[in-house]
Symmetry: C2
Subunit: 342 residues, 2 copies
C-alpha cells in the first residue's frame, strides 16, 4: 500500500492550520503520534486563538507564512511526509474580495502542491467542498461524487468558490498524473463544532441562533425553514483527514458529511433548545425574509450528501450527530465566555 | 436601450485579437463602421500572420500587451466603448501549462474587466465556451444554457479549462452587479474557418484530416466515428460578437453554435471529399485508437448545442453550414499554400 501514510512518527504540515478544522486535525494527528505538526498560516482568517490550546504542545510548530509565496511553503514543508491543504476563501470572503479569493484557492493550491512535489512529500489531503455540486433548486436528492456542478441562479461568489474548488481538485489530479503525488480529496460539508467562527455562510445559522437566544432574543429563520442543510462535526472531519493519510486510497475524491441532513427550522429549534438549557423556556422562532446584501446559500430541494464512498475509500463514517455536536459547540462557547468574564 | 452599443463611430478593443476569431471580428466591426479597432495581443498564441490581411487598415491598430499586466490593458482601452475578451488558453495549452492557463483565463479576465471599469467602457463581450457543460458520456441531448457542468472522467486540463470559463463568466456577472458594467457572454462551440490554427482540440479533426488527405494519406478516425461534434463557422461568430455589442441584452450568457452537429465520421468524410476536390478519388478513412498522451475530448452521447437563446437575446443565428464553411477554410488554405509555393 504505497499510498498509505502512517501518522505515527511522521511530520505533517497543515496549510491554513490556524483554523477550526486545522486545530482539530492537529490535535488528532498529535494524539496519533505524529512526530511534528506544523501549522502554516498567514493569520488573515486564522487566529492565534484558534490554536491557543495547542500552542505549547512540544510537537507542534506554528509557522507564519503565505500560500501566495512559494518560498514560504518550500521552507515550511521541508521533511514533511503529509500536507493537509485547508487554506481557502469561502463564499462570504470570496464575495468581499474575489481577487484574493481566486489567488488563494487556485494559485495557493498550485504553490502548496509544488512545495509537496519539490520536497517529496508522500501524500496530500485536499479540503474541497460540497460547493462543487453548486447550489439552487436543481441540487436535490442524493449528492454523490459524480453529481455535476449546478450554478444557475447562485450568487457569483458562490459559483466562484465552487469552481475554485473544482480547479483545486483537478490540480491535485494533475500533480498525481504528472509527478505521482498521492492525494485524497475530501469534500467537506459545512463544518461546525468547538472553535466555530463566523466565516461560513451556512454555519451562521448555528452561531447566530445561539447568539440571539443568549441575548434573550427570538431566533430567526430565513424563508419557511424547510431548506435542507447537511453539516459535519469538526471532530469527525479531523478523523477523516487523519484516515485519508493512513488509507491506501489515492487519486480519489469523496464526500464527508454528518450522519444526516437537517432543515433550517429543525436546526434553529435544536440550537434554541440546547442554548436555553440553562433555564429559559425555548422561544419560538421568528420567520423573516432575506437580509439585503447578505450572501445566504439556499437550495430549494431536499438533499442528502452521501458519505458512503468515503467509507469505501478511507474507512470513515461520521459518528457525531447534530445534537451531540451542538452540545459540544455550546459547552465550548459557554466555557470560553465563562473564562472571558472571569 | 442603455446596454445597446452601436458599432458605427465607436472604438473597440479585442483582447487576444491576433487570432482566428479576433481577426474575423475586427473585419466585421470595421465593415460596420467602427471608429477604431485595437487588436491587443502578446503574440504568445496570436500571430502577425493571423492579422496580416488587416494590418494596413487605417482604422486598425495593433497593440502588443499582456493581459497579466493591468497597465498594458489600461492604456490600450482608453476611450474604448466596447471590449471583446478572447485571450485564453484552451484545453491543449492548459494541459501544457496549467500555471499560465489559470493566470490568463482568470486573472487576465479580472484585469480586462478592471480596465473596462476604470476606463468606463460601455460593454464587454466575453468569449466563453461550451466547455462550461463539461465532457464525457453524461453530456448528451440538448445542451442549453442551464445544463450543469459534468466533469467526471474528463482529463484534468479539460476540467481546468471549463471551470476557468465558468469563473470568467461569473467575474463578468460580478462586475455587472458591483459596477453596472454591461456584458454579454457568448459560449462558443468549436470554431473553424479561414486562418484556422492547430490549437483547438476539436478543430484538429478538420485540419489534420485535410493535411493527411493533401499528403496523399488516408484520413484517420479516432474510435468508431460516432462521436458528436458541434462546430461554428468563424464568420458566424464574428457576426455574433458584433450583434452582442449592438443588442440591448446585458447580464446574459448564450450559446453560439453552428446550424447542426456532425459526427466525427461524417466530418472526416466531408473534409476528405472537399480536400480531394482537385481530382483524387476520396480515400476511405482508417479507424485508429487514441494516440497516447494526446488530449482528445470525447463525448459518449449524441448532443446538440442549442443556439435558440442567442436568437432571443441578440437576434443571432448561424448562417453557414459545415459544407460551406469547410469550402471556405479549404479555399483559404489552398490560396495560402499557393502563395507560399509561388
Amino acid at each position: 500500500m504505497p499510498a498509505a501514510l502512517p501518522v505515527a512518527g511522521n511530520r505533517f504540515v497543515i496549510v491554513g492550520g490556524a483554523s477550526l478544522v486545522g486545530s482539530a486535525t492537529a490535535g488528532e494527528l498529535l494524539d496519533h503520534g505524529a512526530a511534528e505538526v506544523v501549522l502554516f498560516d498567514n493569520f488573515a482568517f486564522g487566529s492565534e486563538q484558534a490554536v491557543a490550546h495547542l500552542k505549547d504542545h512540544p510537537r507542534l510548530r506554528l509557522v507564519r507564512g503565505d500560500v501566495m509565496r512559494l518560498p514560504d511553503l518550500l521552507r515550511a514543508t521541508e521533511g514533511a511526509a503529509g500536507l493537509l491543504l485547508l487554506a481557502a476563501y469561502m463564499t462570504l470572503s470570496m464575495d468581499r474580495d474575489p481577487w484574493g479569493g481566486l489567488d488563494v484557492n487556485i494559485r495557493g493550491v498550485q504553490n502548496a502542491l509544488e512545495a509537496a512535489r519539490a520536497n517529496r512529500a508522500r501524500k496530500v489531503v485536499f479540503a474541497s467542498s460540497n460547493a462543487v455540486y453548486g447550489y439552487g433548486p436543481k441540487v436535490a436528492g442524493e449528492l454523490v461524487e459524480d453529481t455535476p456542478f449546478h450554478s444557475v441562479g447562485a450568487p457569483p461568489a458562490a459559483i466562484l468558490y465552487g469552481a475554485s474548488k473544482i480547479i483545486g481538485e483537478q490540480l491535485c489530479r494533475d500533480y498525481h498524473r504528472r509527478h505521482g503525488l498521492d492525494y485524497v480529496v475530501l469534500r467537506y460539508s459545512t463544518v461546525y463544532g468547538e472553535r466555530q467562527h463566523y466565516r461560513a455562510a451556512n454555519a451562521l445559522y448555528i452561531i447566530e441562533t445561539y447568539d440571539r437566544v443568549r441575548r434573550g432574543e427570538r431566533p430567526q429563520v430565513f424563508g419557511d425553514g424547510s431548506e435542507t442543510k447537511h453539516f459535519v462535526y469538526v471532530g469527525d472531519l479531523a478523523r477523516a483527514n487523519r484516515m485519508a493519510f493512513e488509507a491506501a486510497a489515492t487519486d480519489v475524491a469523496v464526500n464527508c458529511s454528518g450522519p444526516a441532513p437537517i432543515t433550517t427550522l429543525e436546526l434553529v429549534r435544536l440550537v434554541t433548545r440546547l442554548a436555553g438549557a440553562g433555564g429559559h423556556p425555548a422561544p419560538e422562532p421568528e420567520f423573516v425574509g432575506e437580509e439585503p446584501g447578505k450572501v445566504r446559500l439556499t437550495s430549494g430541494g431536499a438533499f442528502r450528501i452521501a458519505h458512503e464512498a468515503a467509507e469505501r475509500a478511507i474507512g470513515w463514517r461520521p459518528l457525531v450527530d447534530m445534537e451531540e455536536g451542538l452540545r459540544r459547540l455550546i459547552a465550548w462557547r459557554e466555557g470560553k465566555e465563562g473564562r472571558g468574564a472571569g
